[in-house]
């Protein structure tokens, strides 16, 4: 049994009017512009990595609809636990482009103080939680926030994003099961891009879909075309409303494809047929949504072009600004391990500062190989 795939914008340019959400023009235009910005952000970041200016990148090109469709369906008070492939969640919610580049550079302007690898953004001001590398750990955490909000009687919803491979991880199971039991207001958003690095979906699980897994936890699972921003919006909005009503979690599977490598260290040619990439290029979520807006007369071709232009300019400026910031100070290494620095860390810091009077350590780190 495979769930039906919800689609609003057909690949053949048809539109399913019954499911077409009633969104303000402003919102629709902002959605497209954010998707374009995500793509520009991504392309620049990959270039910065290729030219050795940043150490690592995880591109999300091809998956912009999942990110922006979902983000647009939430309110600012809602909380978001993103995976590493969802800068769009940050950008829609209001994080500055420069903040993201600061993270990629690990500089003194980085909100995470240069402590995490690139793409591990964090933004408390917009209720977006610090990204972790270990897969699926954010799911039970998201459920915990949702449970706390219920206890506090705050009408918020928590969304957490992850990939298809992540559904195999133990914390997927544990998070979903807790959510079911406590009817926690959570939206589980799985961007099923059909590969987990080199492992295809059918080696990941024998289940017919991701959505069907929700049955194991007693809540609904839905499948949407993840390259159709309106379908993603629709599904996430429904799920969020359900959650806000007190009816518990939903698992949303957004079926999609990553157009690039898993990360800047990956070579998809080793495991994925090139032809497939060509095919999925035709389903590019930005193009599809752009065509819809222009066809509807909500935006002209020229406006779309200038959105691209603006995106390229904004990302170039932000990256340049980030590059100018110095690295974080040595002292910052020892901050935030605890609320207050305990004596043993103070001692280690003092020793380090003393040692550095004699000369500084040379950075001999190699480029990240994965």
């Amino acid at each position: 049994m495979t769930e039906a795939l919800l689609q609003v914008l057909g690949t053949d340019q048809t539109v399913d009017g019954a499911h077409e959400p009633a969104l303000a023009v402003d919102t629709l235009v902002r959605m497209l512009k954010t998707m374009i910005l995500v793509r520009c952000f991504d392309e620049r970041a990959l270039n910065l990595q290729r030219s050795g200016r940043i150490g690592f990148h995880v591109p999300s090109s091809g998956q912009e609809a999942c990110q922006v469709g979902a983000a647009a369906a939430l309110t600012p008070r809602d909380w978001v636990f993103p995976s590493y492939r969802e800068p769009g969640l940050f950008l829609w919610r209001g994080s500055a482009l420069e903040a993201l580049y600061n993270n990629l550079y690990g500089n003194s302007g980085d909100l995470a103080k240069g402590r995490q690898m690139p793409v591990h953004y964090t933004d408390r001001a917009h209720n977006v939680v610090s990204i972790s590398s270990p897969i699926a750990t954010q799911l039970p955490q998201a459920v915990g926030v949702a449970m706390a909000a219920r206890i506090r009687k705050d009408p918020i919803v928590v969304l957490t994003g992850f990939g298809d491979g992540s559904t195999s991880a133990s914390d997927f199971h544990v998070g979903a099961n807790f959510a079911g039991v406590y009817r926690a207001p959570v939206v589980f958003l799985c961007a099923n891009n059909q590969w987990a690095i080199s492992v295809p979906f059918e080696r990941q699980t024998a289940s017919a879909s991701v959505a069907i897994k929700a049955q194991a936890y007693g809540f609904p699972g839905v499948r949407v075309d993840g390259n159709d921003v309106l379908a993603v919006y629709q599904a996430v909005r429904d799920a969020a409303e359900r959650a806000r009503r007190g009816d518990g979690p939903t698992l949303v599977e957004a079926f999609t494809f990553r157009m690039g490598p898993h990360s800047s260290s990956d070579d998809p040619k080793r495991y994925r047929p090139e032809a497939l990439c060509e095919e999925w290029k035709k389903r590019d979520p930005i193009e599809r949504f752009g065509r819809y807006l222009t066809k509807k007369g909500l935006l002209s071709e020229a406006e779309v072009s200038s959105a691209w232009e603006a995106g390229r300019q904004a990302t170039a400026d932000a990256a340049r600004a980030a590059e100018r910031l110095p690295p974080p100070p040595v002292e910052s290494l020892f901050e935030d391990v605890y609320a207050e620095m305990p004596p043993h860390l103070r001692r280690q810091l003092d020793e380090l500062l003393e040692e550095r009077k004699a000369g500084e350590s040379v950075n001999t780190s190699q480029a990240f190989p994965l």
């Binding site: 909380w79 980085d110 909100l111 995470a112 103080k113 402590r115 995490q116 591990h120 964090t122 933004d123 408390r124 939680v129 610090s130 972790s132 270990p134 750990t137 799911l139 039970p140 955490q141 998201a142 459920v143 915990g144 926030v145 949702a146 449970m147 706390a148 909000a149 206890i151 506090r152 133990s170 914390d171 199971h173 544990v174 998070g175 099961n177 807790f178 039991v181 406590y182 901050e335 935030d336 391990v337 605890y338 609320a339 207050e340 305990p342 004596p343 043993h344």
Partner: protein
Amino acid sequence: MAILTVLQAVNAALKQEMRRDDRVVVLGEDVGKNGGVFRATEGLYDEFGSDRVLDTPLAESGIIGTAIGMALYGLRPVPEIQFLDFIYPAFDQIVNELAKFRYRSGGQYPAPVVIRSPYGGGIRGGHYHSQSSEAYFAHTPGLKVVIPSTPYDAKGLLASAIRDEDPVLFLEPKRIYRTVKAEVPDTEYTVPIGVARIAREGRSCSIFCYGAMVHVALEAAEKAKEKGTEVEVVDLRSLVPLDEEAVLASVRKTGRAVVLYEAPRTGGFGAEISALIAERALEYLEAPIVRVAGFDTPFPYTLEHVYMPDARRVLAAVDRVMNF
């Protein structure tokens, strides 16, 4: 003042803090209606209801993972792991997530969770109801590790842990849950984290220990006195942060050190005490630093009394450092 067991003191601290601060919630397997398999959470469900005392599904990473989320949102969750032996499914959530949240988010997302768990041997629990794996956690920056050895400290340290802004692993030596009793104030008080306690003063030799082993050390000290050896027993109380000054001061005074712990010897937390002394008080030592610990085997069942350090073995170590 009432005479309380360690277990009752834990229960009293939980009640006190839950009354004091409505952000405090308790969660775990069987902690609700059943009051916990050791009854540490007895009465909480009735008093605070199902919103603040949550029976969870059987998944430790879910208990800790959701507790992290609750803490991020502003609550003060106090999850219970039924036995420390069962904490490992949550190990990733603890060492990769809980311990690093504040740091990795640049201080934006602190996660003040207090994990309570009974630990240690001496109750005929075999492999999986006896482990002392405090060393794993003490080697994990970002966590605090606190271990009481008396009812007074159990209540006071747990209260401090719950008020702390950082994640704390609060380990309860289950062997002395019911056997050690003492007067405990009914009123509110806290015992600061990071300060060792001199459980017994002496000038001949120091024993560094924590948890149930404090009582073994005290028994050995009593016996050593018969031979004229004045043993100082230092109860570390918190492994992280460690009261390094107390350790160094004691060894500078006595010149002789025995390190006592029930975990497997190799790589146990006691090795850190030896290393600390060997680096910063070596010149005061008049004898090698002797460790008395569990053997490097899994925890056994029938022979647990042979496995676990007892006063006899500690006394032999005291003799060794005294007669060097």
